[in-house]
Symmetry: C2
Subunit: 394 residues, 2 copies
Amino acid sequence: MSKFNFEILGKDVKSDARAGVIHTVHGDIKTPSFVPVGTQATVKSMSNEDLQEIGVQVFFVNTYHLYLRPGLEAIEKGNGLHSFIGWGKPLMTDSAGFQIFSLGDVNRQRKLCLQGDPLEIPLVKISEEGVKFRSHLDGSGHLFTPEKSIEVQRILGADIMIAFDECCYYPATHDYAKKAMERTHRWALRCLAAKSKLQGKLSERQTLYGVVQGGVFEDLRRQSAKYISSLPFPGIAIGGVAVGESKKEMKDVLDWVVPLLPEEKTRHLLGVGEIDDIFTLVEKGIDSFDCVMPTRLGRMGHLLVRKVENREWKLDITKAMYASDKRPIDENCDCFVCRNYNRGYINHLFRAKELLAYRLCTFHNLFFLENLMREIRTAIKEEKLDQVKKKWLQ
Amino acid sequence: MSKFNFEILGKDVKSDARAGVIHTVHGDIKTPSFVPVGTQATVKSMSNEDLQEIGVQVFFVNTYHLYLRPGLEAIEKGNGLHSFIGWGKPLMTDSAGFQIFSLGDVNRQRKLCLQGDPLEIPLVKISEEGVKFRSHLDGSGHLFTPEKSIEVQRILGADIMIAFDECCYYPATHDYAKKAMERTHRWALRCLAAKSKLQGKLSERQTLYGVVQGGVFEDLRRQSAKYISSLPFPGIAIGGVAVGESKKEMKDVLDWVVPLLPEEKTRHLLGVGEIDDIFTLVEKGIDSFDCVMPTRLGRMGHLLVRKVENREWKLDITKAMYASDKRPIDENCDCFVCRNYNRGYINHLFRAKELLAYRLCTFHNLFFLENLMREIRTAIKEEKLDQVKKKWLQ
């Protein structure tokens, strides 16, 4: 089986969009690719069979959550995540940094960031060594360092791992964003060193992505993009763009960062993927992105539908107006939910808080997004991205 | 499409068990058949596709719940339950009587039954006309009568309907059990009259089962069995045997009632189906039975497994001992859950309260039971029921 390898198969003529394929030992990921989030080693309400039927190529698992529950012992005895889950396709794990940092009180964190001092946060304490935190489950104390993050991700065994970083909350001062970025850079070196020390143990099958930080500051983002690109990471993740910025600021960050990234390295955008972001990030040259949006919306009954007749992307199936509606969620959709179930019944399932509601709506939203991504990939290769974008965004 | 019709295809030599087939316009139900319960028009956590894969032939919907939510308007506009749910196979509905009666405080009800006066129950008031009750959802007041029950079940449109009865709680005095039985008999006549008055509207596709009551009293049960059998019901349901009696008393009721039922009428046992009851009720000559057991147990993580090495039928997957267990739930099971998932992962899903846990375990339990029923049907036709029973019960 071949190791990690990225091929570019086509480029858009009017934007920086590119279509390609990431080869991993667990199979290929065609890009641009949406990566659903399965926080606790399950994309909420979906079976592996559901994900395969949808065409999901890879999903994202949160290291922090698995480290605490079921814990490393169960995963290690289960021969790693793929075998534990029973999922034979690619997986990604994060470094646990963002999740740990999020444990702190967000408002207090932001205030401290603005004051330039993020070091004292309830539940979380950041130092050069790493991050001390208390479990949200039982209050037990833990220390995560770059070395620990790599060790934990090695045990999880995902195809793509993320380097341990310090995610800077928005808004933050330039001073704090700079400190966090610099620490992220030092931690990047420690992650690479930890990975090479583990070489014997660490399967060559696992790839490590570096993380670009720098808040919403052009100088810092450029500096981080250049530095992280210079290190031997085969892929680059862009962090800190899903913590409260406006859509405009996300675009700015991509404008500053992506042109400085080497073409041959894959580019992953962490935590972004609202439906109206997708064409933007694809056109800026992003290859993959993870987001909880389609699954979380699905569990709330907010369904993705094509924007027709000035309708928004989202249809709230829990509204009383759908109680007797015999139409499928989206008449243009071929998913099994739209082929076999009507809006009235799904409305009833939500009102009655029936488990089936969450599954049907998650399935539809993921199918909708995968379908959009397939169309985008084909469009890039056929040099028709602008037409497809026009069709979708009208 | 042919109307309701029951054929007996084989009889056991050593017991009263029989194998047959119930024909309905929505397809056949091979008997003996287990009927899963989908209280709110969904077998909790199962899609129609799941039920079909399992081989579920028919499921049971609670009239009381659907009457209150989504309400008759949504179902009527949706062209009846089959179309509303998107389920093309047979369905059963109950009369709503048992559910309404259950609204009252059970302990108080029992006390009143023992005193011989069940007429004053919080939320519920029974009279000759019918039952007044308050919705458990919004406290609104409603009156269900035999005529109303038939009208509501007509709108729901299930293939098999149940006559409106007064279910007598256990333990009750002979006096109260007699009064409740006599009322059930008078209500049976009113249900039949209501059905024939509606003949124009009421689809000939729907069949009405009469209900035998009489508590745990031999004289009453025999009287009820004879009387209900004498009325023009094509099928007989046996009620009031899932409200607290011992297994011994359930057997007694079947011993008194079933021999008095005409062979050509189908026999449904209401609300019974613990795994160790199944051989008993089949041997007593029951054709179908509904029970929430396998689905409810599944959602609690109690999984049905073959009784090997003195193990009980149930395996509690939430126990810590399964956290690193790489085996499937049941090594002898061919369901997709046992083929693709291990105990350690399912244990994790339960501990993390992930939605997938409930679906996987419900699927397995239903598959397990359907498989058992298939084996029992074949065994009856091949005159091997005692061997199969021995194998299963060891």
